[in-house]
Each structure stands twice: as C-alpha cells, then as structure tokens.
Symmetry: none
Subunit: 401 residues, 2 copies
C-alpha cells in the first residue's frame, strides 16, 4: 500500500486548523568554523518561546546528501514522495511563471541559442541575452500557427523561456531537442513511444518555424527545447487528507506547486507581515494553510548572510500575527537549506518545529540547527511532516485493530 | 530481497537468551504543558539503573503520525512489516478471544443487529445488548449446519461476536454483509474473485439460517458479517530467526498474535509478578521470550494517569525477577503510546531500552520519553527491534564478505 493510500484510508475531517510556515532555504551554515549559522545568529525571542512548548527536529527534504530543488522539496512538505511523484521540468517552468496549466497542456523549457551558418550550435544560451531582449522574441514565437494548437511562449529570465502547447492528445513522451553541447546541430524531437509520434512531428514543425522567425535575430537565432511535460496528475490534498487547503505565497513557482496539489491560492501582498495578515483574513475559510516566505532563500542564494539573518528576525517579529490566531497545529520549517556560505541550495537537514496541544514537547528551547538536531523528533524525512500535522490535529484514525 | 529473507539468511542459533518486555501503550503525554508524562512521573529506580548501561531510543510503531492498533503494532515488534503483513479483522477477532485458528479456517466478525419488518437495518449494534445476552445467541448460531463445515460462533463483547468456519477450500476474498449504514438491507456476501464463489454461497446460506433462528430475538434479530479472513500466513519465527520462542501474556489477543508468528504460549498468572515468575520457570526452555503487560494500556485508555504511573512502578519493582536471570539481551519498550491525556492509542514515538553486553551504552540515564529521544539509537522504526536484538545476542552473521 502506498503511503498516500494509507493516509486516505485513515484521514477524517474535523474543525482543527493547521498552519505550515515555510521559510524557503531556512537551514544554514556558519561562515567560519566555530561561528554561528544564520538562524543561530538571528535574535528570535518569539520562535524560541514557541519552541519551549513545541517538539523540534531536523528534516531531510529528499534523503541524506541530496540537495533538493524547489519542486521535489515542496512535494515532500505536502506529503508526496518526491522520488515517486516527479514534476516534469516543463510543468515546473510553467508553474514558475504562474501559468495555470490545463489538463491537456504540454509544456517545455526553451533556451534561446546561437547557431552558425551550418546550423551548428555555438552558444546554448545566446550570450545570455537579457529578459528585455528575450521578451519580444517570445511574443513573436507565440504567433506561430500549427494545426489546431494554441501556443503560449513566455519569458522566464535572460535566455530562458517556457512554451505551452494547448491542444488535444498531445504526449510528453518526447526527447529533447537540446543537444547539451556545442559544435553539433540541435536534435530532432523524437517520440519515446508510439502514441507520441504525432506530437513529435508537431514539435519539430514548431522548432522549424521558430528558426525561420529568428533567423536574423543573432545571437538568439535558434531555440532548444527540453523537459517536455504535461501537468502532473498528483493526488489532490482534498482527496488524500480531506483538507480544505490554501496557499499564501508571493512567488509564482510556489503558487504553481500548491495549485498542483489542489490548494486554493489566496491573493496576498508579498511582504512577511502582509502574508501573515492574509492568513488572518482567511483563517475561518480553510483548515490547512501553507505560507511561503521566499526571502530567506534569495538572501542565501546571494550569499548575503546578514540579510538572511534579518529576514529570519522579521519573521520572528511578526510571528504573533500567526500565534494570536491559535492554530491547533503550527509547523515552522524550511523546504531545504540555502546557506549563504554556499550561495546555493544544500543537502543539510532543515530545522523543524511543531506546536500543538498533543505534541509531547521536548526540553529543547531554541529554534536553530544545533538545538533542533537534539529535538524530540530527531532527524526524519520531510515526507513525514504532513502525517505528523494530521495526527496532531486528530485527523488520522487508528491503523488496524 | 525482503528484510525477512535477509534475517533468515544471516541468522544462526546459539545459547544467548533474549527477553522483550512490552508495556502495552507505554508512551504518554503530560496532562498540562510543562508537566511530566506518566513514565516521567513514575519512580523507576530499577529501570533507570538498567538505562545507565543500556542504549536508549524512540520507536515509531508504523510510521510518523500513524496510530497503531494492537495487531500491526505487535507485528512490527516481532519484525514483520505491518503494512505488508496485514492481519484480517476476522483473524484478529479470533485471536482476541483466544481461538486457535487452523490453517484452513475462515473467520469473520459478527455484529448482532436489528432489522425492521421490511428487512431494513435499524440498529447496527442491536441496542448494544450485553455479553450475557449475546452469549446464548452465539450458542444457537453454532448449531447451524451447512455442507460439511464446522461452525464456531463465539461472543466477544456486547453485540460483537466472531464466527469461524472450518472446512475445505474456503476463501476469504469476500465482501462484507455489513452495509455500514442503517435504513438499508444487509448486503449479500459477494465473491471478490472466481475461487471465492462457492464460499460466498455458503456464507449467505449461513446468514439466512441465522436470520431464521434470530427472527423472534428482537433487538438482536439479525447479524452483519465483516472482515472475512483466513489465518495469516506469516513466516514463522523459528524459520526466519531460528528462535525457539515463547509468549507470556495474560490477554487472549496477544497470545493470538504471538501464536500467529509461531511462539509457544506459556500458561501464566496474569499479574506482573506472576508473568515474571513464569519467565523464571521457563527460562531454560526457550531462547526468546515476549512478555506482555496489558495494564499500562488499559489505564491509559481509561484516562487514569495515576493508575498508569502505578503500573509502571509495579513493573519497576518486579524488574529484578527478570534481571536476576541475566538475559543476554533485554529490551523494555511498548507497542505504541496510550497517553491517559488522550484516552486512546496515539501516534507518539515509544520509549525503547536495549541492554546487552554489546549494546554500546549511551550517556542517557533515565528511561522516559525525553531522555529516550536523546538516546544512542535516536528515533527508529519498531520493525528494527528484532534485528537489533538478534545482533546483540550475536545471532546474526555478516552480510556480504
């Protein structure tokens, strides 16, 4: 039996309200041996007060040693095995720009690239043209007509874009056109199974027409497609957990991920206090809230240790906006670590805090990496977070007699 | 390779003796934030002394957040994956009343119920008739004759009973007759595969004859059957672990569960000291002993915090009866948590202690939830207990060269 089947069998509805507060990239590292991490440095009296009556732990987003991207990291937070339920790169790209994919849509990532007169790829990133330069090119490509397919080409950043094909019976069992090297031609898109043959022909037609349009747009005189993907058919949170769930997030990617599992996306201002106010406004309407704070991750990616400390302190300063609502279960954690020292996502376990009437508090009184690693829950897979939240809200019945 | 296959490949026999002392529902919660759990409250000098030279930890009976019933919880303790090896409700019911199922027996749960003149179910529990009332009805139903099948109908409690059919080629691939709602007729038992068709006919014949017998026994004028199950075909402990194992338990359910994995059931008085004396008397005859203490769970289920504390203290007071025998490996743990605060089984991890000459003691010196969560074994699945016990008794050889 799959673990989602188990949760589905055991879950019941009641009035308990749950809040999952995700500080993206929360876990950190010290800049030098013997110094403190971002979270250890931050002055967080409210999180520490909460920790006193909470149970703490450390989570592995995917498994030991694996650095998680945003897609799999959030799937794990939402209770979906991130190895089993992969979201195709095209679909993740569409989510990332806030494109609301329909059931039959097919998405792919686009790189604007440079080809020489013989059609050999000389630069897979078209000299990293700016988004301002790639945006009008996307508009040109959006006007390509193939068959009865509606085509959306949207800029992402610099040379990167995403294309969504809306038609009937499109398949994502397709190989990339991106050869992943220079000095060679781009590849023909090939069908990976019998049913994908028609779609492969259409994709090659699209690429051909795009090349004709871009012929005089050097350095962006061709495109490379990869990561063909349809909308992931994820089990929906309302079916598995019987939850009426909502997402409060400022960035398109996280709204898209939440939408994939069936959360309602709440309109919100994107500052920390505005997101928390959105929770307050909607608190009576849902029984599960996912709140996403992006700035911990962006400051970590920028290698800005002090800014990450300040973001954490701002979350702490505003925490009362959440705790005053007295949610039955409150979790504070991250989706993965993003240490400023590494300027990137990392594999390190993520601090975790769960507060509820039934949480069996441990004797750990600070919310930071070292204390959390000694918490009552020990180190555990992020995949266990949803079952723990469900249990603590008494929404899971007994397994077996 | 299944983990039982691995254990089977590696296990060897020697003279080492192992004792698994299970305090049912051991894990607890404080009644108020900042107070102590039952186990933290109990005065347990002998368990704490043992903890000083033991390795501690916390176990998850099934997985994080999942509250375990007795069946799956004990399967995990005995080393059987409780998701893979489910015991059907009928078989668990038979175990619960101490009925020794044979290989070909088919068991089901019975509810005595009330039907109106049109055959519509008006009460699925027959007004919760007393066990004194249902017992003679069970005797009447035991006299039903069908084909060449021997029928045993045994009271469980109030309106609940269990029926065991002893015949040839009976299948348990059957749907329930219990409609799980009132205002409708009971359902025909249906075959879930081709081979179960004959059995389905026989079951419906049994129900029909039962209804004729009960026609004037209002409110118990009909029966509802559910959870058809044959004896679970569990790998036997003597084959997997090469152990000569025995169970010391006062309650039928736990004797039944132990019998399913091939333990010998030792006759015993049911007080704690009597159970421990039974261990002493039989210590030379077996190399693995499962001792089950029920009162920690019953007091927890009753919400009686102080009684649970006293039961734990009584176990502690009598612990010398076990330790004086100097078992090579002694484990003290629970099958799940039953906090008096919740008056029910719960999902919380369970305190675990393993004492052996080779256990690598940690620096944790108290046997209770908070200390165990900082123990040398951390938090781990209960499924790992048997391999750990086997290893600590040097009964597992090396895997691979």
């Amino acid at each position: 039996m799959d673990r989602l089947d188990l949760i589905k069998d055991l879950s019941v509805t009641n009035n308990a309200k749950m809040v999952m507060l995700v500080l993206d990239g929360l876990g950190g590292l010290s800049l030098k041996a013997g110094e403190k991490t971002e979270l250890e440095t931050a002055n967080t009296p409210n999180l520490d007060l909460l920790a006193e009556s909470a149970v703490l732990g450390m989570t592995d987003p995917i498994m030991a040693g694996i650095t998680a991207g945003s897609g799999p990291a959030h799937l794990a937070l939402f209770g979906y095995d991130p190895i089993k339920y992969a979201i195709g790169r095209g679909a993740l790209g569409a989510a990332g720009i806030g494109f609301d994919m329909q059931k039959d849509d097919l998405a792919a990532r686009i790189n604007f690239a440079t080809a020489d007169n013989d059609g050999l790829i000389t630069d897979r990133r078209a000299g990293r043209i700016t988004t301002d330069e790639s945006s009008p090119l996307c508009e040109l490509l959006s006007e390509i007509k193939i068959d009865n397919i509606k085509i959306f080409v949207k800029p992402v950043k610099e040379h990167r874009a995403v294309v969504i094909f809306r038609g009937h019976c499109l398949s994502d069992k397709l190989s990339d056109s991106d050869p992943q090297e220079t000095g060679v031609e781009s590849k023909e898109v090939a069908a990976l199974d019998e049913c994908a043959k028609t779609t492969a022909v259409l994709m090659n037609e699209f690429i051909h027409k795009a090349q004709n349009i871009l012929v005089d747009k050097h350095p962006a005189n061709t495109i490379l497609l990869r990561g063909f993907a349809k909308k992931p058919g994820l089990p929906q949170m309302k079916d598995v957990c019987k939850l009426n769930s909502a997402a409060i997030a400022g960035y398109p990617m996280y709204k898209g991920l939440a939408r994939f599992v069936g959360m309602e996306i709440l309109p919100t201002g994107i500052s920390i206090s505005e997101e928390f106010e959105t929770l307050k406004t909607n608190f009576n309407r849902f029984d599960f809230f996912f709140i996403h704070i992006k700035a911990t991750d962006s400051s970590g990616e920028d290698g800005d240790f002090n800014r990450k400390v300040k973001v954490i302190e701002e979350v702490d300063k505003n925490l009362g906006l959440i705790t005053d609502l007295k949610p039955d279960v409150l979790v504070v954690t991250g989706d993965h670590s993003t240490p400023a020292f590494l300027k990137s996502h990392s594999w390190h376990p993520v601090p975790f805090l769960l507060h509820s009437k039934y949480c069996r508090p441990d004797d750990v009184k600070h919310f930071e990496e070292t204390s959390c690693s000694r918490g009552g829950l020990g180190r555990f897979p992020a995949l266990d977070i949803m079952p723990l939240m469900m249990a603590n809200s008494l929404k899971l019945t007994k397994y077996g007699a």
